[in-house]
Symmetry: C2
Subunit: 329 residues, 2 copies
């Protein structure tokens, strides 16, 4: 028996293109004692994938190597097993790869089959922890402060905004279309949402954040970064979760001068979700409670079919999705 997978054939130059991946057919492995085989059913496409395609060795994870199966995480079901902890029929979530089948590993987490895979990927795994740990542990928000989140209609951004709102902050989302902005305000309850493509974005931000910005959750990078940065208050915190737009240039655009970091006692901080794994239970508990109370909702953008993965990734980076991008096999 065989299965399909996508390997990386070259690193991207600027924008992601579909031709950097190669569709290959692999033979199913014969299981050894302790091994188990997972058939992937739902895969998460994430902005972080762009960073895994940067061929630099000093990043938080080694880059995907040429010829390797593309890295990803997803949900699947155990279809063959020589491991008593993961019997056939077990539902799992974990690092999988762009592959229809994947050998299981000890880091995979068993999940309750009654929870939709979409909820797992949109709320209860890395996405939820990224939003929670970044906002609460790095950003340390205080009730009454103003938060601006970029990529606000994305999986992490939409959670960050709702979580901040539930924690008593004024929340301003920044997204790439009026339709997304409408969703953020009308459905998710953001105080304001701004289309960063608007020519008067700077003036709009002054109106939306009349008391300045205390917490800036940065998911996108690009030229609006400095506009938001310039409206930070003293002691503001910037959570640098992603700067996607900056990966599409061989030499990334420069950042803001450090004069304001000095004069306003700002803190600009990057973080990696895996360093906050110890807060996973706390995050799931808080997010679960807010979900039950109706303070948080999630939305998924689902594409069907294994072979749509490369195009799906392009769509993600073009910002075509609202909510969590999932590929369903």
């Amino acid at each position: 028996m065989t299965y399909k997978a996508f390997t990386l054939s070259k690193y991207p130059q600027g924008h992601i293109t579909t031709d950097i991946f190669e569709l290959v057919t692999l033979a199913q492995p014969t299981l050894k004692e302790g091994e188990f085989l997972v058939k992937q059913t739902h895969m998460s496409l994430d902005p972080a994938m762009r960073t895994w395609l940067q061929p630099r060795e000093d990043s938080y994870l080694p880059p995907v190597q040429i010829g390797e199966v593309m890295r990803s995480y997803g949900v699947g079901v155990v279809v063959d097993s020589l491991n008593a902890q993961f019997p056939v029929g077990t539902h799992v979530v974990g690092v999988t790869g762009w592959s229809e089948y994947v050998l299981g590993h000890a880091d995979m987490q068993v999940i309750d089959a009654s929870i939709p895979a979409e909820a797992i990927l949109a709320l209860f795994y890395f996405t939820g922890l990224t939003a929670y740990a970044g906002l609460m542990k790095v950003g340390k928000p205080k009730k009454g402060e103003t938060l601006v989140v970029t990529g606000a209609a994305g999986s992490v951004g939409s959670l960050v905004g709702q979580l901040a709102k539930a924690e008593g902050l004024r929340v301003v989302g920044v997204a790439g279309s009026d339709e997304k902005c409408k969703w953020l305000v009308e459905e998710l309850g953001f105080d304001a949402a701004l289309n960063y493509k608007a020519e008067d974005f700077e003036a709009q931000l002054r109106v939306a954040a009349p008391n300045g910005v205390d917490v800036f959750y940065e998911n996108t990078g690009g030229s609006i970064q400095e506009i938001i940065f310039n409206q930070l208050n003293r002691y503001a915190r910037v959570i640098v979760c992603g700067v996607l737009a900056d990966y599409d240039h061989e030499v990334p655009a420069k950042g803001p001068s450090w004069v304001d970091i000095n004069l306003k006692s700002l803190r600009v901080q990057g973080f990696i979700v895996t360093d906050y794994a110890s807060f996973a239970d706390e995050a799931m508990s808080v997010l679960g409670r807010y979900l039950a109370e109706g303070k948080i909702q999630y939305k998924t953008y689902t594409v069907e079919g294994f072979e749509s993965l490369p195009e799906g990734l392009m769509k993600l980076f073009k910002g075509e999705n609202t909510g969590k991008f999932i590929v369903k096999f």
Copy 2:
């Protein structure tokens, strides 16, 4: 009776020039109940003065206003008093201003007359706390890590390096002349010191910090900032104490891209010494101990005469001093 003072006559455009100050003659006030008069004997000239001359209202301190006496701190002796807590003959340190005489205020600290004014200003007041709080509380250094400090031959920088050395770090200083670098290595015990004017500064830094940079104490700004930034390790901390070079341009030079902040989980943080006042006793105790143990020394660069203040400030910003810049009246 009259005394001399310098008021601010205009804000600087780029480099500090002596003509932004005006020498004025003021009449000595008649003391009211509770007041006391301080004759200033030693004044501190500090890089932070540049930030007090920026006419922006969102900084950590309001700018000195046009027509106001220039802000500063210094050491003096009470020469007239209607305040029992500050009798005539008391030595004090505190915010004074560019003025031969100054009305005392409750925030002034009484000091032991046996401690030289130079030691107070170089080690035991804002300078010491700035070095200590910035390095220890913001930078959170760990034994065995590598520190790079810019403005290393200045008052704060030279203390930061010695303190880090005493705490078990590898210390690389960056200064503006070979003579200063020699002093840092031969007298203060820095592991290495680099002249930032060297053409191969980047390569020299790779040799001086072979394991990369974990803590970057930034006192100067300018184009070397990004060279040092590019050699930061994962989880490195940047303490933005000052970016002096960046005040000399109407639009300050941009900072490094945030890509590395994201990929390497960096923290770039500004701070204001007055927010760390609660650590003053701890700082003085640690610095005092290291001084007694011979692990820390201080050097002063003293200029004589009240009227040399404006030129003294220019010298400070040109980096002519090694160690703490003091004007003695």
